[in-house]
């Protein structure tokens, strides 16, 4: 089996630094005064996770705040190296952790589109091919040659989502970014995600919105304190999550 994403025994430890000694002075003082000495505390954000995702699968990653969801997503994206275990991905991976990444307020919408897509390794020619679609989807035809500092928050977010939606990677890692624009635009975003899924894009979706996970994902994983607690059918995993949080099923 060729997995799209494969995690084997993956752990991630962060060293939380008390009195981070970024300067030599502090480091020298620390030699004599224990109070100023840099102390490193270990924090295991992800522990011993085994997870294999099939090509074309849509996986919802749920868990309370601080459970390690975002860290796991960043490990898949290659932003952090794992402390232990191995992470393997196949094809082009795009992590959508924040919309409008790399945007500069003084550049125009057009210039920002080219800058932002190149951050995801698209060449200018690749971007030429999807440029019109990005602008049309974001509904910004009239404003695309204005500096984006003149855009409303909603307009920037729409442009950001539209870029993300047209990157068409093999593996798309999405972190809580679907809640942009008005309700109509949100609906459009969700439809766009479903379209990508139909085309065979592997999607990993980190979300607090359990409703969204149940609707979009065909598999869900629950993380609690960095460990994989449940893996399976979204409805069952969501129920397990609610149980862990100590809340009942949603009303109605």
């Amino acid at each position: 089996m060729e997995w799209a994403v494969e995690l084997r025994g993956v752990s991630k430890r962060f060293l939380v630094r008390r009195n981070p000694a970024h300067s030599l002075k502090i480091r020298a003082i620390g030699l004599f005064h224990a109070r100023y000495r840099e102390r490193r505390e270990e924090l295991w954000a992800v522990r011993d996770v085994d997870l294999a995702i099939r090509p074309g699968e849509c996986l919802g990653l749920i868990g309370p705040n601080g459970s390690g969801k975002s860290t796991l997503l960043r490990l898949m994206a290659g932003i952090f190296p794992p402390t232990g275990g191995t992470v393997t991905t196949r094809g082009r991976v795009a992590a959508i952790i924040e919309l409008g990444l790399g945007f500069h307020p003084d550049l125009t919408g057009r210039e920002n589109i080219y800058l932002s897509t190149s951050l995801y390794s698209l060449s200018s020619r690749d971007t030429d091919a999807i440029y019109e679609d990005i602008v049309r989807f974001a509904e910004l035809e009239e404003f695309i040659d204005l500096p984006i500092k003149n855009y409303s928050a909603g307009m920037s977010a729409r442009l950001g989502f539209s870029i993300a939606a047209h990157l068409e990677p093999d593996v798309m890692l999405v972190d809580e970014v679907l809640a942009v624009g008005d309700e109509r635009f949100q609906q459009k975003c969700i439809e766009r995600m479903q379209e990508s899924r139909r085309r065979g894009t592997t999607i990993v979706l980190v979300s607090h919105a359990t409703g969204l996970v149940e609707r979009l994902a065909d598999r869900a994983c629950l993380l609690l304190r960095g460990r994989l607690e449940a893996d399976g059918e979204p409805a069952k995993v969501v129920a397990r999550y609610r149980e862990a949080l100590g809340i009942g099923p949603p009303p109605g």
Partner: protein
């Protein structure tokens, strides 16, 4: 690593274009500013060193320019590289891309301005001063290429180390100031006392400057020792810069 950089070449290109656009957009004189700065420096230095301190050298502005423009490129790049990883922390934490692109783009941004300034000033000063260009001037281009590689190595080293020791930014600033005065840019190396010349020539900035002056100003081939220093420093900085950057870059997303 090289393959990764090739894949991300349009990102590097867009970063450089972004900085160039932002530098000139909204200013009336635009890129003329990049030319005014060397003009002013050359005017003031010529006054101070040619006419007040009497450095005995013909066509002094031309001599000065040959050393000063590449120095400005190196100094600006080294200075800018110290902040480049920290300034892009939000990108580094949120998306994967080869981190080398950041120092490389910042060096290329300064290099683009060097090329622009050279394209305007070299022909102008050759015409005005009437110094004949010798065939050795052709060697200027490969020397510039080596200077670019050397500076990329320095930028890798400084940008990586600054993430753990913020002092490096201040140290670099002072270091550049001191280095400028022990580099034969405003005076020829021949004015340096003979027993000190050998130490001055070990300084990479001096070796590059002397080589530029040989091929453009004196119309001679660079001394073998100078050329060896240039090549040695370029290779050493590329290797050291790359190794240090590799060691630090895996933890950038956690450090910055």
């Amino acid at each position: 690593m090289i393959g990764e950089l090739v894949r991300y070449r349009s990102f590097i290109k867009n970063l450089v274009l972004k900085d160039l656009k932002l530098k000139y957009r909204g200013s009336v004189l635009g890129f003329v500013w990049s030319l005014l700065y060397p003009v002013m420096m050359i005017t003031v230095y010529t006054f101070a060193f040619r006419y007040v301190l009497r450095v005995e050298i013909e066509h002094y502005p031309y001599f000065l320019l040959i050393g000063l423009l590449p120095w400005n490129f190196f100094a600006t790049s080294a200075h800018a590289s110290t902040g480049v990883i920290i300034a892009n922390a939000s990108l580094i934490k949120k998306v994967y891309f080869p981190r080398e692109t950041l120092p490389i783009a910042s060096v290329l941004f300064s290099f683009a301005q060097l090329v622009l300034a050279l394209a305007v000033f070299l022909p102008a000063l050759v015409l005005v001063s009437g110094v004949p260009l010798h065939w050795t001037a052709l060697l200027f281009v490969p020397l510039l290429g080596l200077h670019l590689l050397f500076t990329v190595g320095v930028a890798h080293l400084l940008s990586a180390v600054t993430t753990s020791f913020r002092d490096v930014a201040h140290f670099t600033e002072i270091g550049l100031l001191l280095l400028f005065w022990v580099t034969p840019i405003i005076y020829p190396i021949t004015m340096v006392p003979a027993d000190l010349q050998v130490y001055v020539k070990l300084n990479p900035a001096a070796a590059f400057t002397i080589a530029y002056q040989s091929v453009l100003f004196w119309g001679t081939l660079p001394e073998p020792a100078v050329l060896a220093t240039v090549l040695g420093w370029t290779l050493a900085m590329l290797l050291v810069g790359q190794a240090v950057f590799q060691a630090y870059s895996t933890s950038f997303a956690e450090e910055v």
